[in-house]
Amino acid sequence: MTFIKKSLTTAVALAATAAMATTAQAEISDGEVRIGYLADMSGTYRDLAGPGGLEALRMAVEDFGGDVNGAPIQVFSADDRNSADVGASTVREWIDTRNVDMVAGLVASSVTIAVTRVLEEHDSFGIVSASAASSITNEHCTPNHIHWVYDTYPLANGTARAIVEEEGGDTWFMLTADYAFGHALEGDVTRVVEEAGGEVVGRVRHPFPTDDFSSYILQAQGSGAQIIGLANAGADTVNSIMTAAQFGVTEAGQQLAGLLVFLNDVYAMGLEDTQGLLLTTGWYWNMDDESREWAERYYERTNRMPTMVQAGIYSSTMHYLQAVEATGSDDPATVREYMMDQEINDFFARNGRLREDGRMIHDMYLAQVKSPEASEHDWDLYEILATIPAEEAYRPLSESQCKLVQN
């Protein structure tokens, strides 16, 4: 019922604003802040953002009070089904027919890159929270989107550097998903490992997706490397970790380094197989009181602990709404400029700052998966080992190929 009512009011509001001709009204266009949430709601990436991310977004809107300077906040959502053309055409339609002010979510890199092009073409605004590709604020950067939670650069940088420098893991074997994302991650790791004085002694590129990893794990065992780096994602990572456990990789003295591992992956696999896994994360729900307080509120609504992406969606939406409130405008350039001027510090981001390439840099954390004995309850999964300062974690602007950066 509420849904029907909501869409009715939207429809009425749309009709009204269309009649008014949107020109020089108050600075918030159409007298409403309209947020569209686009994510994979049913496929591979459902659990790391998906419906839970939409709930986080709704939480932010409620906590903000439901309106900005009297202009009500409208939230609508769509499933992109991990398809770039579905995503791009949905956003195009949101812009053309609903005059959307901000697009949130954005998961699969293919969808994100397609959507950001539409956003730029129509001068709208997007906040990318779930995509991994660092190219989103590098060669694919636009003035119309920002990238909030993480990307592949700090994942490789954080995990690989910490392992070589602090754990003494000098020799690496890379297990790489054979597509653009995997290659990029492998390249980043190789560079970091070599800079830190280590060596990549072997690698195997497996097709995406792969059902059985035993052959590749056997090759990794045969290489004699100390560390097996997993440059893959989602089901492939879960699968390789489980297979490694079956083949007694850790007992034999090798260690796994997960380069893109989410809380939901570890939760799904359980601690038996994942214990000791090193990974880099942008946020962890149990890292301090402030995070815990928010996470527990989230848990009450969804019955799951939030991933870093879901927390990031809340955080970024809050900052966006604050910027709209402060500037009294939902114009992309104005909002972005305001956000760039602010220090970003909340339960999610520490020492955060929005750079001119659209990258929000903030402290990242090196974490290790707990052993079953050390874990106190179902969601007690990570131990934070170290903080990677924001300025060191992300790709420096001096290396940027972004058109917005003067080099």
Binding site: R46, H206, P207, D211, S214, S215, A235, N239, F247, M269
Partner: protein
């Protein structure tokens, strides 16, 4: 150390063994498809979903009913088999008189429903099923560390395949089945209850898939989508083998596992593709598949 094409003999042997284990899965799955195809002439597109259901029944049985692995090995295929029989009785039978392509389309729809529904309840991350205690750990063979469970999978799959072959080739029920494949009308005239035979066959075919699912549960993450990619590979195996022969399905399954295993060593990027390449080659030389009869 002896080298085979630049790979140490030990590694080579290990990879062959792993390939054979994967081949055992292909064999089980394509065997079920072949049995169903033989009598119903339907390509069972829901086969991957049934495999997934087998794994899920195992997982949920443990979680909510406390059924252990060994019981699940029997109960999950039974449960999925019964479910399959319901599908045959109430859905497939209604279109049995039509072009068999409709059967393919119907089972495709069923697969969509099953997978999509489970995604909404269990997400896609996949859950872990513990390896049964008796099969934890592994053997340190001369050339590799072989987890006990994988060795068990290989043996169990081959035993079930042989059992199926024996059932079909050497028992009265199997004789009915083969006769029903050749001429159902005549069988009916001899007083054999052909519709019941068909229901049982479909149930048995999907039970084989579910059995593979149970075997897979401790190996791979149990997720609603685990069957959909595998299905396509198994289809290729079936095309290569030719759909007529039971033995053909088993032999081709194991062989394709081996070929894929070797590809993972020499050219891992092509591991998913090699089966389709073999398929095209086979089709060029023998359009009905290796063991198939020319129509």
């Amino acid at each position: 150390m002896t080298m085979i094409f630049g790979v140490p003999l030990a590694v080579f042997m290990g990879q062959l063994l792993l390939g054979l284990i994967n081949g055992a899965f292909y064999a089980l799955l394509s065997l079920g498809l072949a049995v169903i195809f033989g009598l119903l002439k339907i390509v069972n597109f829901a086969h991957g979903a049934m495999y997934m259901l087998g794994a899920f029944a195992t997982l949920l049985g443990m979680r909510y009913l406390g059924i252990n692995y060994w019981a699940a090995l029997l109960l999950a295929p039974l449960f999925v088999g019964l479910f399959g029989m319901l599908i045959e009785r109430f859905l497939l039978r209604r279109i049995a008189h039509l072009d068999h392509l409709y059967g393919l389309l119907l089972t495709f729809g069923i697969a969509l429903i099953l997978e999509g529904t489970l995604v909404n309840f269990f997400g896609v991350s996949g859950a872990r099923y513990p390896t049964p205690e008796a099969l934890q750990g592994g053997y340190q063979t001369g050339f590799m560390f072989l987890p006990k469970y994988r060795a068990f999978v290989l043996v169990a799959a081959i035993v079930v395949c042989l059992f199926t072959w024996y059932m079909i080739e050497r028992t009265r029920l199997g004789a009915y089945l083969r006769a029903g494949t050749e001429n159902p009308a005549l069988m009916q005239a001899f007083g054999v209850n052909v519709p019941l035979l068909i229901t049982l066959t479909y149930g048995f075919g999907v039970a084989l898939a579910a059995f593979a699912g149970v075997l897979a549960a401790p190996l791979y993450p149990v997720s609603p989508t685990m069957g959909s990619n595998l299905l396509i590979v198994v289809f290729a195996v079936v095309v290569i083998g030719g759909m007529g022969s039971i033995l053909g399905a088993v032999i081709t399954g194991l062989t394709m596992g081996l070929i894929e295993g070797l590809t993972k060593v020499y050219y891992p990027e092509a591991a998913n593709t090699v089966i389709f390449l073999v398929m095209i080659l086979v089709l060029l030389i023998r359009p009905a598949g290796l063991f198939g009869k020319e129509a």
